[in-house]
Assembly symmetry: C2
Homo-oligomer: 161 residues x 2
């Protein structure tokens, strides 16, 4: 399958929230996202990676406008959980490359990461699917990052979000 | 936008690898995936969540057949990094619900997580996009999980992977 990177999208309407040190046992993710769904908070992406010592962190991005409601829910959620903490960051951008057959190509991801590295950008979070590779980065660097990524993938016009 | 969960896919051809405690600074993700790309290892999903004390973990899934080459690369990669470790798990399945407009609905994710909770399944990793919500779970529970998820979303036949 030929990989075709069609373009780059930038979403600067998001805030990232992480709930640190939740028990890594059934029902935790359900309870959290059920609470958020009840308040009609639309979740952009959810990222949960590997746990440690039966604990894990759950991170997600939501529209900036929903930050204060979401924080209230999260703080309520962690009340009964010892050592758990809620952290968030509004100064982020989700930068993505979009295309077809992303996961069947060997070097699409590494090329995108190279563009960010060469712009001296730290990748805060990574989430991928067949059609898209997304990185959460600090918002102040996004324009250089887009330029560099364009160059690497030899793209024409930017794909509108 | 009406959410339409079209079906469930199961991918039991994967192994998950996590590189723990890498420096959370530019270039790390690029170097790792560049090494893997050079050995033509196709990456299924990459998941990196929130870091701690300037360290982070990078997790990814690859075809089981590539496990031994990938482990060699990862062990080489962490050699110069104090405290870093490589862990992997072959007994996993990626279970996904696929549809349209997933992120614009409030309760698709929580409904999926509920089905897993009610089947007493621990969610090891989570990765989402507009069209798909994927959970990495232990392989031995996958059939019950599929059944329960079918019931919750009132789906007909399973979508073939
Ligand atoms: C951490 C959280 O995802 C937990 N493992 C659960 O299944 O709900
Ligand atoms: C951890 C790793 O992703 C690092 N932050 C990087 O940018 O390469």
């Amino acid at each position: 399958e030929k990989v075709l990177v069609r373009g780059i999208t930038k979403d600067n309407t998001l805030v990232k929230i992480s709930i640190l040190n939740v028990p890594d046992k059934p029902g935790i993710a359900y309870n959290l996202f059920d609470q958020l769904a009840k308040k009609k908070i639309s979740i952009d992406i959810i990222i949960q990676a590997v746990g440690r010592h039966n604990n894990n962190d759950i991170s997600f991005t939501i529209p900036k406008k929903d930050l204060s409601i979401a924080l209230t829910i999260c703080k309520e959620f962690i009340k009964p959980i010892k050592k758990s903490k809620v952290v968030y960051d509004e100064n982020i951008v989700k930068l993505s490359i979009v295309g077809i057959g992303m996961s069947s190509s060997y070097d699409v991801a590494s090329t995108f990461f190279k563009a960010l590295y060469e712009t001296d950008i730290n990748i805060q979070m990574i989430s991928t699917s067949e059609l898209k590779i997304s990185c959460i980065i600090e918002d102040k660097f996004v324009d250089e990052a887009i330029q560099k990524t364009h160059d690497y993938f030899q793209l024409g016009e930017k794909v509108q979000k």
